[in-house]
């Protein structure tokens, strides 16, 4: 094979093969996924994201949170994600269909967040975690998300409010046909 176009055509074939085999067939399988009820006639899941949470995702992206936090829980046989109490069930493809950018992440310097909204109790808890550094944690305090008023109390900025709304919207505490199967 000495001709440039033949080599290029060969390399194109290798790329096109993996593109077709992985991405197009993946698209055929997952591209049509819609919201579904957990049981017949029930409400549709995943739930719609509140507008503030959509803004909060931009803050999450902009601060680069995805570098240290994943948003996926693996099935019980693969890793100890469920044993760590991050979620009751593994995450499934349907959980992500409403998200504009899917932030699965590939590194954990901190806990997984896919079900964070179901784990925390109040907004204040999340604000406290963002504003101050927890002992033994490599996550710094995000002090610039808060302004201090004269009486010494802290007020969250708009970004902080949106970010907390986003983090609280991260929940997979509902069931779905696939999730039942996967468990």
């Amino acid at each position: 094979m000495k001709n440039l176009n033949l080599i290029l055509a060969g390399v194109f074939f290798t790329l096109a093969a993996s593109f077709g085999g992985l991405l197009l067939s993946g698209q055929v399988q997952l591209g049509q996924l819609n919201r579904a009820p957990a049981e017949e006639g029930g409400p549709l899941f995943p739930p719609k994201e509140p507008g503030l949470a959509i803004q909060g995702r931009q803050v999450y992206l902009s601060l680069g949170c995805v570098t240290c936090h994943t948003q996926q829980v693996r099935p019980a046989g693969q890793g100890n994600d469920i044993a760590r109490g991050w979620a009751q069930r593994p995450s499934v493809a349907r959980d992500y269909i409403l998200q504009s950018q899917v932030l699965l992440g590939n590194r954990r310097l901190g806990p997984d967040l896919v079900n964070y909204g179901a784990r925390v109790k109040s907004d204040d808890e999340v604000h406290a975690h963002l504003r101050t550094s927890m002992p033994g944690s490599v996550m710094p305090a995000y002090g610039f998300l808060y302004t201090q008023s004269k009486d010494g109390s802290f007020r969250p900025t708009e970004d902080a409010v949106a970010l907390v709304a986003y983090l609280k919207s991260l929940k997979i505490d509902y069931s779905s046909p696939e999730a039942k199967q996967k468990q």
């Binding site: 194109f12 096109a16 593109f19 077709g20 991405l23 197009l24 698209q27 055929v28 591209g31």
Partner: protein, 121 residues
């Protein structure tokens, strides 16, 4: 190597080969991109619903605007006239307002009241 070579082509051989490689890459990208766009069905149920909601909103909005700008007959048999006309009428003849109030306090206006109170009980 003389610079006065008049038969020199517009595109040199190297640049022509370069354009050839670009064309190859461009075709490759186009084929893969086309395959993706052909397989990507944009009309998921969710997208359809969003489009339908948008159309409905636009429709309602234009209807609501129409009520303010056109005159016509309401569903309950009364009439509506554009706001500007109404303001002009009242300005020209202030006593019309008192007449309107009276007609509102008449039997026609009291009719829906029992239904409403029943509903809230």
């Amino acid at each position: 190597m003389s610079d006065s070579n008049n038969s020199r082509p517009v595109v040199s051989g190297q640049v022509a080969s370069w354009l050839g490689v670009i064309a190859f890459v461009a075709v490759a990208i186009a084929v893969i991109a086309y395959a993706y766009l052909a397989f990507r069905t944009t009309d998921g149920v969710d997208a359809n619903r969003r489009i339908a909601e948008k159309a409905l909103r636009a429709d309602l909005e234009s209807k609501a605007k129409g009520k303010l700008t056109d005159s016509g007959r309401n569903a309950d048999g009364t009439y509506h006239i554009p706001l500007d006309t109404a303001v002009a009428l009242i300005a020209a003849k202030p006593e019309i307002l008192a007449q309107l109030r009276q007609s509102n306090e008449g039997p026609g206006a009291t009719a829906p009241a029992p239904v409403f109170t029943n509903g809230t009980k």
